[in-house]
């Protein structure tokens, strides 16, 4: 999957890819103080396109709000909601809004799920539907944090560690392998990294084409940008 960290004020962004075996579950957000966990499990292509390498995507997300007793399992097929022991199932083919005391859900048919957890977080999960007969690709999900300012200072995870900002410095732009994508040196978290100017897509507004988001790409699974290594973020289950 692609990870994008956007700095709206500066109109700039950082990005990196995380590649591992399909089926791996990564912790994206973990805030022990407010009791929120977001984990995502990857899927691969149906088969490998001979012209490309195996890509992985998020196929399901598990979201827990321990204090509210909320659990959500979002897959490309359906959305399982569990609140204080009560369970319900929503389908992507629904167009539905549910307002609860601690959580609001809105499913835009075959498009997105917006989740608002009272006084903590708001995020959107986007459904990327792929042609059923496509020989390689299958449906996958995207996760977008819309409001993260209420997370505690202890929030971590592949995304969570960036919620309270980071300091980085980009200098010495030089010609990279691709003439359209110059390289530069980035100083971040005490490391000097070679980064490449590129772009990734934000699919929230335009689900088909997406909008290009220019970003500084950090190579090798975000090494140097993320705390530790990707193995540190692998968990054994969605919850």
């Amino acid at each position: 999957p692609h990870f994008i960290i956007e700095f709206a004020d500066q109109n700039d962004a950082l990005c990196f890819n995380i590649n591992d075996k399909p089926g791996t579950i990564f912790n994206l957000i973990k805030d022990p103080l407010i009791g929120i966990i977001v984990n995502g499990q990857t899927i691969g292509d149906k088969k490998i396109d001979p012209e490309n390498t195996m890509n992985t995507y998020f196929g399901s997300f598990g979201i827990v709000h321990a204090k509210f007793g909320i659990r959500l399992v979002v897959t490309t097929q359906d959305i399982l909601v569990s609140e204080k022991g009560k369970q319900s199932k929503l389908f992507w083919s629904d167009n539905i809004s549910i307002k609860g005391s601690n959580m609001d859900l809105h499913v835009a048919k075959d498009r997105s799920l917006t989740v608002t957890l009272r006084n903590s977080v708001k995020f959107v999960i986007v459904l990327h539907k792929v042609w059923k007969k496509h020989p390689y690709h299958q449906d996958f999900l995207g996760f977008y944090t819309l409001d993260s300012h209420l997370f505690s200072q202890r929030v971590h995870g592949l995304l969570g560690q960036f919620f309270h900002g980071i300091t980085f410095e980009v200098s010495d732009m030089f010609k990279g392998k691709d003439p359209d994508k110059p390289d530069a040196t980035m100083f971040v978290k005490g490391h000097n990294l070679t980064v490449t100017r590129g772009w990734q897509k934000d699919f929230r507004k335009d689900l088909k084409k997406g909008e290009n988001v220019p970003c500084w790409f950090v190579h090798k699974n975000g090494t140097g940008l993320i705390d530790g290594e990707i193995e540190d973020y692998i968990v054994s289950g969605l919850f």
Binding site: D12, G142, L159, F174
Partner: protein, 616 residues
């Protein structure tokens, strides 16, 4: 080809994958510099003019240098300095009638090897009942491993497939292996080093010429074949077994001074052959022009044996001298055809056409090219088709091409040479037999968008109409359609509903053929349509068409007349930075381009963030 002394050509592989007429060709050459000094290695490839380059790379000692497709103007600006200092050169050159040449050279160190890979794509056109894939091979020296491999996948089923080459001798013939099984075909040709030799003890190679694969597909359905793949569709329409429409044809022949000699002799011969192929139900006329305009007869004549004999005698009397008045000649021909239609001296369901043969630019009467195009377009008013034959190299081909396209026809260059008569006849064979006229394709407006051209003045025997588009919902697996056309006897309406096929079922043991070929086919056709529109549209249409064609060319990495492929060569002491450009040539122009400059940047950010994770 890769050549130069002490360069060993180790590998040449040409791999073609054709899926539903869309051909994806990858040419790979690997060479080793066996010398103790660095040497320049040349990589020359001839590819069809109708193809778009999509990729080029050079791998030198494990480092890969990849070509990047950029907007032509942007690339030009960026590399302006280098152009002025003469550091760059065009990579693509015109090369003969059907091909253009991609050519790059690079300096490689002693005992190093290099691999060039060029990829291009094209939609094979059906002509006279067959598709033709042409591969030009000129390795210039013996190759350790030489291989041509082609795989053809046609969901409609293959009726026949032939593979042959201009260089294939009786000894090499058994090496052309061909397997055809219903929907797929595999062709390979892989001579050993010894089999490539011109003679047992010499280094000359027999492999020098063109390799052709010709084939056709089944046409069981009258309404054609529609393929739906991942939100895109393509409709192939070439119904068989329709009687030919009678035709009304006026030949407008240039007899200006420049046509004298061989050209006029070849025109005589060509016309006589063509006359022999007219049928009794056809009507025809001759208008000849230099500074003035003359008609053989004031009105159209039926193609009786006697009239044809008289016409042949007339053709012999056409002699060349004087200036060139294209405007009045074509308008005269239009009037002849219109008179015949108004007086109903020609059948109601018949195809009316003008075939203009000229070798020069208008210099008598109306000589402003745009005014002539406007006059002709207004006079024709969509009621007949104009075909233009440009004879030789001095002709203003673009003028003829635009004028023909504006009137639903097409232009062809006739190359001066001993086979000019054959070229004239070949062109006539392609267009002479009209099966259907006013062929219109309709799909539900709320289901499709970005449709390529869907209205065609005529369908020629042995050709094929291709329409492609995007589906509003890429989950769609069904598409209703309607095709209307006029045949000799009646108005036809084909109505149907196409369903997406399961490629895994059609080609079970095949990994999905090549990715999103239907989407590429749509993009290729759309760009071709837009390039036509740039030539013949109104100023507003031109601007929009240019923007759209550029966007698609960049998106699909096609080197079209609007884009350039920038190839950065490895740095050497002599050339610290060297960049080359591959352009798509238009008839009128060749472009030369650019070289880059560095920029430095320093920024520091500390900020709150919004972030996300997604995959595309």
């Amino acid at each position: 080809s890769v050549s130069v002394s002490e360069i060993e050509l180790q590998n040449v592989k040409i791999n073609c994958m054709v899926t539903s007429r869309f051909a994806h060709t990858v040419m790979t050459s690997m060479a080793l510099n066996k010398a103790n000094v660095s040497q320049e290695v040349f990589f020359d490839v001839e590819l069809p003019k109708t193809a778009f380059i999509t990729n080029f790379s050079m791998e030198i000692n494990g480092n890969t240098y990849v070509g990047v497709v950029k907007e032509k103007e942007k690339a030009k600006k960026q590399y302006e300095a280098a152009v002025s200092s003469g550091k760059t050169a065009g990579l693509v050159k015109a090369s003969g009638r059907k091909m253009e040449k991609f050519s790059v050279s690079v300096n490689i160190a002693a005992n190093s090897n290099i691999t060039f890979t060029l990829t291009f794509e094209e939609l094979l056109q059906r002509r006279l009942g067959k598709y033709e894939l042409m591969i030009r091979v000129k390795p210039k020296q013996l190759v350790q491993n030489f291989e041509i491999v082609a795989d053809v996948f046609e969901p409609q089923g293959i009726t026949f497939l032939n593979a042959h080459g201009t260089f294939i001798t009786n000894e090499l013939l058994p090496l052309v292996e061909k397997t055809v099984t219903d929907k797929r075909a595999h062709v390979s040709f892989s001579p050993t080093l010894d089999q490539q030799r011109k003679c047992p003890d010499c280094d000359g190679t027999l492999i020098d010429g063109d390799f052709f694969i010709n084939y056709d597909v089944n046409r069981e359905d009258m309404f054609g074949n529609i393929q739906i793949v991942n939100g895109y569709f393509v409709h192939f329409f070439a119904p068989a077994d329709f009687p030919k429409l009678p035709k009304n044809v006026v030949f407008v022949i240039d007899r200006s001074g420049s046509m004298s000699g061989t050209k006029m002799h070849q025109t005589h011969e060509g016309l006589k052959t063509i006359l022999n192929e007219l049928h009794e139900e056809d009507h025809f006329g001759f208008v000849t022009f230099s500074g003035d305009v003359k008609a053989w007869k004031p009105s159209l004549t039926t193609a009786t044996k006697e009239n044809l004999k008289n016409a042949e005698a007339f053709v012999e009397t056409i002699t060349a001298s004087g200036l060139t008045n294209i405007n009045d000649a074509v308008l005269f021909a239009v009037k002849m055809l219109k008179d015949a239609m108004n007086k109903k001296t020609v059948p109601e369901n018949s195809a009316s056409m003008i075939i203009l043969l000229t070798d020069g630019n208008p210099n008598e009467g109306e000589s402003n090219i745009q005014s002539i195009q406007n006059n002709v377009k207004n006079a024709i008013g969509g009621e007949m088709t104009l075909f233009c034959l440009g004879f030789g190299y001095d002709v203003s081909y673009t003028f003829l091409d635009v004028m023909a396209k504006q009137n639903n026809g097409l232009a062809r260059r006739i190359y001066e040479g001993s086979d000019a008569v054959v070229q004239l006849q070949g062109f006539y064979d392609e267009i002479a037999n009209v099966l259907l006229s006013d062929v219109n394709f309709q799909y539900p407006e709320n289901s499709v968008n970005s449709l390529t051209g869907s209205k065609f003045k005529q369908l020629f025997n042995g050709s094929e109409i291709v329409v492609a588009g995007r589906l509003n919902d890429n989950m769609m697996n069904d598409l209703p359609f309607e095709v209307t056309a006029q045949s000799v006897e009646k108005d036809l309406v084909f109505v149907g509903n196409a369903t997406a096929q399961d490629w895994k079922t059609i080609f079970p043991d095949q990994e999905y053929i090549f990715g999103d070929f239907t989407e590429h086919l749509w993009a290729y056709l759309t760009i071709q349509n837009l390039l036509d529109k740039i030539e013949k549209g109104s100023p507003e249409e031109k601007i929009k068409a240019t923007e759209d064609a550029l966007e698609l060319s960049l998106k699909y990495n096609f080197v079209t007349p609007l884009t350039s492929m920038v190839v950065t060569k490895p740095e050497t002491e002599e050339n610290p930075e060297d960049t080359f450009i591959a352009d798509k040539l238009t008839e009128d122009q060749r472009r030369h381009v650019p070289q880059a400059a560095g920029v430095t940047l320093q920024r520091t950010y500390t900020s709150s963030v919004t972030n996300w994770v997604d995959s595309d």
